[in-house]
């Protein structure tokens, strides 16, 4: 089985188990303030790391290319409170423009 299938199935199974277990365990198990706090911080850490790695690396090498422009435009769009699809679209369009131009 390829890595793609393992990742697809493994992620899907665990995602559902996590969702279903939340609906099934007693509320007090997960309502500890420390767990709540960690739960709020984990997505911030992982998503920020993903932004950085996806923007400035290719395999294990660091590099700067058209994605820097795409990311900057996305950031401007977010500052201007643009909706999510517009943020992604503006990044793609600007990045593609720079890619053609260079």
């Amino acid at each position: 089985m390829s890595a793609f299938w393992i990742a697809t199935i493994g992620t899907s199974v665990i995602a559902f188990v996590l969702k279903y277990s939340g609906h099934s365990v007693p509320e007090r198990w997960l309502s500890h303030p420390k767990i709540q706090r960690i739960n709020a911080l984990i997505p911030i850490a992982l998503l920020s790391a993903l932004v950085a790695v996806q923007s400035f690396s290719e395999k294990s090498q660091l590099m700067i290319d058209q994605r820097l422009v795409g990311l900057s435009v996305a950031m401007i769009a977010l500052f201007l409170k643009a909706p999510f699809p517009l943020v992604v679209l503006s990044a793609a369009v600007s990045s593609a423009a720079v890619y053609h131009w260079l």
């Binding site: 890595a3 793609f4 299938w5 990742a7 697809t8 199935i9 493994g10 992620t11 899907s12 665990i14 995602a15 996590l18 969702k19 279903y20 277990s21 939340g22 609906h23 509320e27 198990w29 997960l30 420390k34 709540q36 706090r37 960690i38 739960n39 984990i42 997505p43 911030i44 850490a45 992982l46 998503l47 920020s48 790391a49 993903l50 932004v51 950085a52 790695v53 996806q54 400035f56 690396s57 395999k59 294990s60 660091l62 994605r67 795409g70 990311l71 996305a74 977010l78 999510f84 699809p85 943020v87 992604v88 679209l89 990044a91 793609a92 369009v93 600007s94 990045s95 593609a96 423009a97």
Partner: protein, 197 residues
């Protein structure tokens, strides 16, 4: 759209992209899987990153379960559509009573589920027809999507410092650690900080 396109751009098939949207159904986790694999990470790192992002859905479930009060098959469906959006909308209806909470949860959860899956298919088919993904800016669509997902969470100075620190840490570790690990490592930074604070 962006997810289907990103998945195909990173080497996933249209079927795999659609299965991720149907079965995983959690935007951040799905983008994480395709992002980590696309960056050369192993399937284990991809699953670990996606699952760490998915833990928040478990906590949403804890919050929603007593409000929805469903069992059997309905609970399975409720669990599957327990995501940021459905939980957020439901809790936004709290003052308007329990029926409004339930309505908000189900309409949002099922509505997002239907459209997310349709757009995934459209995006995946579109990307398949494209060829060089960079020519269409798809290489920037994925980081922009992550940025859009993290942005609303950066509510204070502490959150912004954590975000920038984790971004810098992941970049610094990228040439050193195997692909995927620099990202997972930041989750442990979050756990340690959360324990101490």
């Amino acid at each position: 759209m962006a997810f289907g396109a990103a998945a195909v751009a990173n080497g996933f098939s249209v079927l795999q992209a659609c299965l991720l949207s149907l079965l995983t159904f959690s935007g951040a986790s799905q983008f994480a899987v395709v992002g980590v694999i696309g960056a050369g990470g192993s399937s284990i790192s991809a699953i670990a990153t996606a699952s760490l992002l998915g833990t928040r859905n478990a906590l949403y479930g804890v919050i929603m379960a007593p409000r929805l009060n469903v069992r059997g098959f309905k609970r399975v469906v409720a669990a599957q559509v327990t995501i940021d959006e459905s939980t957020g909308v439901a809790l936004g209806q709290e003052q308007r009573g329990i029926d409004a909470v339930k309505k908000g949860f189900w309409y949002t959860g099922i509505g997002v589920f239907v459209f997310w899956n349709l757009f995934t298919l459209a995006g995946a088919l579109g990307a398949q027809a494209m060829g060089d993904i960079r020519a269409f800016g798809l290489d920037s669509a994925v980081p922009a999507a992550f940025l859009g997902l993290v942005w609303p969470r950066l509510t204070g100075k502490f959150e912004r410092i954590l975000a920038v620190s984790c971004a810098l840490f992941a970049i610094a570790m990228t040439p050193i650690l195997p692909a995927g690990l620099p990202i997972i490592a930041t989750a442990f930074i979050a756990i340690v900080i959360g324990m101490k604070r």
